[in-house]
Symmetry: C2
Subunit: 410 residues, 2 copies
């Protein structure tokens, strides 16, 4: 049963008045109310949707990928698609817009909310920026935002506008166009420009600042942005835990520090592996290159426990509105880590089953009840989209915190 | 001789036309041009001025203190006076305004520019704030700024407005009123409020943000402040080096990172000791409590070398406009460290002599020249106040970067 107190912020009560086409109450009828889509965003990075939507891989690979996406769709309602400038537009003027549009469309048709990641980042950025002056780089970055945000409006209305700004101007692994302009503009300056440009071309979109840095650096940066009048819709927090689960204490401490701004929090890039833990002395996760990083039964059990605890803590926190696990599958996972909910052969790990039970079971709403003499039925459930089934008829409605009574005609 | 290239930013050329009372050129006369006061601020924390100006100590102590201040005045032209709320106004409504005014006046009469330190800080703040609501604390802090900035206007026109904001809201050594309100306002928010209030009551003052944190935390904080429209006149950088001299590399790295904002830099609290180095494992310098921290001949030589190198690097940097050594004397020095230019008995250490030679010798201007047939004489010198001596006559003028020719009547 639902523990009402813990999840009060995720729920609402609603009274439905069921009427027939003539407007008469449908009294004494049994109805079923099923949550079909959570308001909360349970997501994954699911770049595989590009291959499936565009059918650009051989038949056996396509079948494998379709099977993967089926398992994804069974549990999740949110997806991140890649807009890394360097891979999205490797050659200037030839963006992969059509392929990405097909993927976003494919997901949208399946009730999945899509986020684009990212519009501005110093890593995997367009290599051809290096031939430009800083003024030209900035103009190209603006043009890129204008083009892509406009092209995807309606399909993608959530953007990681700018990624990893804490390190951006001091990133020194290699020269790149974005680090160059971030030095000119300053951290808050570049955020301000990128948010303004994105907002200009999709005023209603949900715009995120995203970082892996969860120290007070990021807190001060957010503070500065808000005081500078930048309207950030959600704070994006990366949590790649290849070096071991943060644990409840650190997680709650991070939540405490970042909830302080009163903004929604999105856990944008979560990783909990089902393999051995990356040594703690590795500073940049990208430096850990090993030939094989196996998923083992023992560590799959650990991953399942960690996923259960972490998702539960986040789902209970009133300001968290989204959790994205970065790799749905071990197949193609970042750093070759066994970071997925499914193994390389698409077989679900315990973490998949545990999370499915939470999202589709414990945190879902499926109730049967009978309308009273006035055709009324009241219930409490998790926020989101619902189907009302009465006999052979089915109607959809939304459970939100707004109106308490809604009339449905069947 | 002056190395013109290195110090070009500290110098100017000027042509003086010397005329007599009737306006006729004073031709073929020998004149001496002496720098009497640097534009650059060479300062110390010199809280001892309170005892001397107010004569509130026994005669022998007073004589000792007067001797100390004489040595200070021989070299320095800038002083920091203490405005710690907890000691300035230990009992609400009874501030030590008169004592501090006397000290500021005493220093001003001796051509010393005085800075007040600080208007807002979580350490040594008024203990009676703890009995107030956060709203009342904020109001008291505003009132304090209004009162003190107004009372000292003309005597003190440079303020460390707010101190150590990076740590302020997470300072957890003990409860205090300022940490409380900084949590409410946020870091940039409290800086904004304090700067606005200080500016309101002394619009022409030089207002500093000051911190010991020289990490990117402080960079991001400054970035946020500037983007939020806070007009900071100078960035204050503390450099208490009880744990060893930073060295050229770190110093230049700090200069590089903080000069990036294009603002003047003030080294507000410098310490280089003539004793053993505090162990590096001490995180909060205040935790290092030892019965005796001797100044030794060996370490005095080291201190002199470090002072020479550090002051030279800073004086060469075009954005540095002030260096304050925190303890002029070992007598009463913070943490009991041998941090002064003079020992506990007022005898000058080698560092004193080295710095005196730089400030009053290498970096000073004292030239003799002869006026031409038109009464003209041209020279290049360090910026600041000058005396022109011609025979038994003496006139003062200012050497600045503004006008190239000035007429002086003798």
């Amino acid at each position: 049963m639902v523990q009402t107190n813990e999840f009060a912020h995720r729920m609402a009560s609603k009274t439905i008045k069921l009427v027939d086409k003539e407007g008469y109450p449908v009294a004494g009828k049994e109805v079923t109310l099923n949550l079909t889509n959570h308001k909360f965003l349970f997501g994954c990075g699911i770049f595989d949707a590009i291959e499936v939507a565009n059918k650009i891989v051989p038949a056996d690979r396509l079948a494998f990928q379709e099977n993967k996406l089926e398992k994804f769709l069974d549990v999740f309602n949110s997806a991140t698609l890649p807009f890394y400038w360097g891979t999205f537009e490797p050659e200037k003027g030839k963006p992969r817009t059509n392929e990405l549009k097909a993927a976003a469309q494919w997901l949208k048709e399946r009730n999945v909310t899509v986020k684009g990641h990212p519009l501005c980042w110093h890593t995997v950025t367009a290599p051809w920026l290096l031939d430009m002056s800083n003024e030209e780089i900035l103009k190209s970055q603006f043009d890129r935002i204008e083009r892509d945000v406009t092209d995807f409006k309606g399909l993608i209305d959530t953007w990681d506008v700018i990624n990893e700004v804490v390190i951006m101007p001091i990133f020194d692994k290699y020269d790149n166009g974005i680090t160059r302009i971030s030095k000119d503009l300053g951290r808050v300056g570049i955020i301000k420009e990128m948010f303004a440009k994105t907002r200009e071309f999709n005023p209603g979109a949900t715009l995120l600042l995203n970082d892996f840095n969860t120290s007070i650096n990021y807190e001060i940066l957010i503070d500065g942005c808000l005081q500078a009048g930048i309207s950030i819709d959600a704070i994006g927090i990366q949590s790649h835990q290849h070096q071991g689960y943060w644990g409840r204490e650190k997680l709650e401490e991070v939540l405490d520090r970042f909830s302080h701004f009163g903004l929604p929090l999105h856990f944008t890039e979560n990783t909990l592996t089902s393999g051995h833990v990356m040594p703690s002395e590795i500073e940049d996760l990208n430096d850990y290159q090993i030939p094989e990083w196996p998923s083992t039964p023992e560590f799959e059990e650990r991953q399942a426990k960690e996923v259960e605890e972490m998702y539960s803590i986040l789902f209970k926190h009133p300001q968290v509105e989204a959790i994205t696990t970065w790799s749905f599958s071990d197949d193609g996972a970042w750093l070759g880590a066994p970071a997925g909910f499914v193994r390389k052969d698409n077989s679900p790990k315990p973490a998949y089953e545990v999370l499915k039970k939470l999202i589709k079971g414990d945190w879902s709403t499926n109730v049967k009840c009978k309308t009273d003499d006035n055709g009324m039925v009241s219930f409490e459930g998790f926020l989101g989209d619902y189907d009302l089934v009465c006999g052979d008829k089915k109607r959809s409605f939304k459970l939100d915190k707004v109106a308490e009574t809604v009339q449905i005609t069947i």
